[in-house]
Amino acid sequence: MSSPDPSTPEVREPLPASGPEETGSTPQSARSFLARIVPLVPALIPLGIMVAIVIALVAETGFTNFGIEFFSLHWDPVNNQWGIGVFLLGSLITAVPALIFSMLIGLGIAIASTTYLPRFLSQWLDPFVDLLAGIPSVVYGIWAFIIVAPYFGSQLEPWMVMNLHFIPGFGGPINTSGLGILISVFILTLMALPITTLLIRDALRSVPRDLWESGLALGATRWEVVRRVAIPHGRRGIFSAAFLGFGRAFGETVAVAMIIGTATVLPKNVYDIGNTMAAQMFELLDSAIGGTGSPQFLAAIAEMALVLLGISLIVNILGRRLISSLYTQQIQGL
């Protein structure tokens, strides 16, 4: 028997759920139907949890219709204004730059680890990047809040104002606490980095050795093989890294809630405080626990949750569909 070849997926017949038919005992139809159905029930667990979450969220909205106003920039519970536009935009302006940075750095690290570094070095360095995914977000949060933010506020941001003020949005004023959009982008970059790096690394590793070596044999340098052969060949994996990395940055809750500053208006520049949907939801729920809000307040939170969940699901479906294998990766947090 030859060892299974990973490139040609084998056909796996499902087991007969009722086992081999027993001859002799006659009234079998009911029993064998049950025996066929029962083993299938546990398989519905993940689907069931997902459906339960969606149903609970939809039920909680009470089908309140906020109309187009729901996406406006006015969030003012006292005056009955429920626009989540500020938070939606806030999620985008933190997650998109974080994604771009983590894709660029991740691409660089993945190329270095697959192409340039000797095996023993990358074997030692790669686990560190994977460890970034294992660190709890609340630990990132406290580190960023107490250690990194003062540095941002007193050193980095004044320097950026001095040297980058010609770029719109980088001109200041800064707040000296260092909390806000910039540090959130920094932390989200770190949190998305292990996902993007790992998926890009897998994509580059899955390029057949033949292609790699034919390129080198034709006289291309390693960089040219990476750029002209490996990256085009692994582009599905690289796109999926972008989608899943975005999903991670977009949905991150606690770390962002600790450092972004929970504003209810749009930030004026990159140093200003802001807010994201996940962070705002968490703050609202955390302070509403125990008391009861108005029905509209609860409906607004539920619909914000639905928007957040919807975007996360779309991004994740797109990202997962691009990965062909069963579960390409088994890393923490992915």
Binding site: T221, N316, Q330
Partner: protein, 304 residues
């Protein structure tokens, strides 16, 4: 005698340089420079980890002692016992439920479903993993705390966290059973094993190490989660007595205390909790790595 000299002159770098056009030299040089620059990007990933580990240890270790960790007086700045017990109990319950659900679900998906149906189930597990934690917490709050009326309690937190951890266990169990080599599977079935005999006596021993990594991974992720627990439990001053008692949880401790004034001593509690969490999470990750490297070696032996 002359032969070595000739071959040496062919390999001589002078000859190659004679051949190389300016463009080739540029290409080779670019490749070399990139080869030095790209590995430097590892610094971007590794420096923050070192900084994080260093500063959190530096803030936590001076005030941390065995007495602080074990003291169960209603928690003040000098007693971590209650949150540690709460975390331990909650993790134990949630992990048991998640393992139960995930294991059965994964095995059923890998062994009994057709490829098509299994694809849907796998996708939903992947989507659960990608669901923001605040959504899971919100779901737990309105379903268990409000709708079922369990109040902010150990039970509500347990079930919510178990739902959060289940897809991780599920995915590894599914993957572990799907990657049992098909010649072994067919040999077992061909010699007349019933499905449950195959699963218990053939599949489980082969899949076990990988399932174990899945469980540890789920624990590493679960123990650090904050949003689902903050929204479904209330911090108790004593270890939980019943399933409906409030329970305190390490990462909620960080969330509640990180922004307090330093004079209260509360940020120190947050740092102590963060340090302990970091120790637990990193050791779980190391265990996962050790098991999976052993497992890979074992699997290769199996394929041969």
């Amino acid at each position: 005698m002359a032969t070595p000299t000739v071959s040496k002159s062919i390999l001589d770098s002078d000859n190659i340089r004679y051949d190389a056009s300016a463009r080739t030299r540029w290409r080779l040089g670019f490749d070399r420079v990139i080869g030095w620059l790209l590995p430097l990007l590892f610094v971007v990933a590794i420096a923050p980890i070192l900084s994080l580990v260093y500063y959190i240890s530096a803030r936590a270790i001076p005030s941390l002692s065995w007495q602080v960790i074990t003291s169960t007086s209603p928690y003040q700045t000098d007693a971590m016992g209650v949150p540690i017990i709460g975390t331990f109990e909650l993790m134990l319950l949630a992990t048991s439920i998640a393992v139960l659900l995930g294991l059965f679900g994964g095995i059923a998906t890998a062994e009994f479903l057709s490829e098509r149906t299994a694809g849907w189930v796998r996708m939903s597990a992947n989507l659960l993993v990608g669901t923001p934690s605040v959504i899971v917490g919100y779901f737990g709050y309105f379903t268990f705390v409000i709708f079922f009326g369990w109040s902010l309690s150990l039970l509500a937190g347990t079930i919510t966290l178990a739902f959060f951890m289940t897809p991780y266990v599920f995915r590894t169990a599914d993957l572990a059973f799907t990657s049992v080599p098909s010649h072994i599977r067919e040999a077992a079935l061909g010699s007349g094993a019933r499905p449950y005999q195959y699963i218990l006596r053939v599949g489980t021993p082969i899949a076990f190490p990988q399932i174990l990594t899945g469980i540890f991974l789920a624990m590493a992720i679960g123990v650090g989660e904050t949003a689902p627990i903050v929204l479904t439990t209330a911090g108790g001053k004593i270890p939980p007595q019943t399933l409906f008692s409030p329970v305190s949880w390490m990462s909620s401790l960080i969330w509640q205390n990180f922004a307090q004034a330093p004079s209260t001593g509360l940020p120190t509690i947050a740092f102590q909790a963060a340090f302990l969490l970091l120790v637990v999470v990193v050791s779980l990750n190391v265990v996962v790595r050790i098991i999976s490297s052993r497992y890979r070696r074992r699997l290769e032996g199996l394929y041969a």
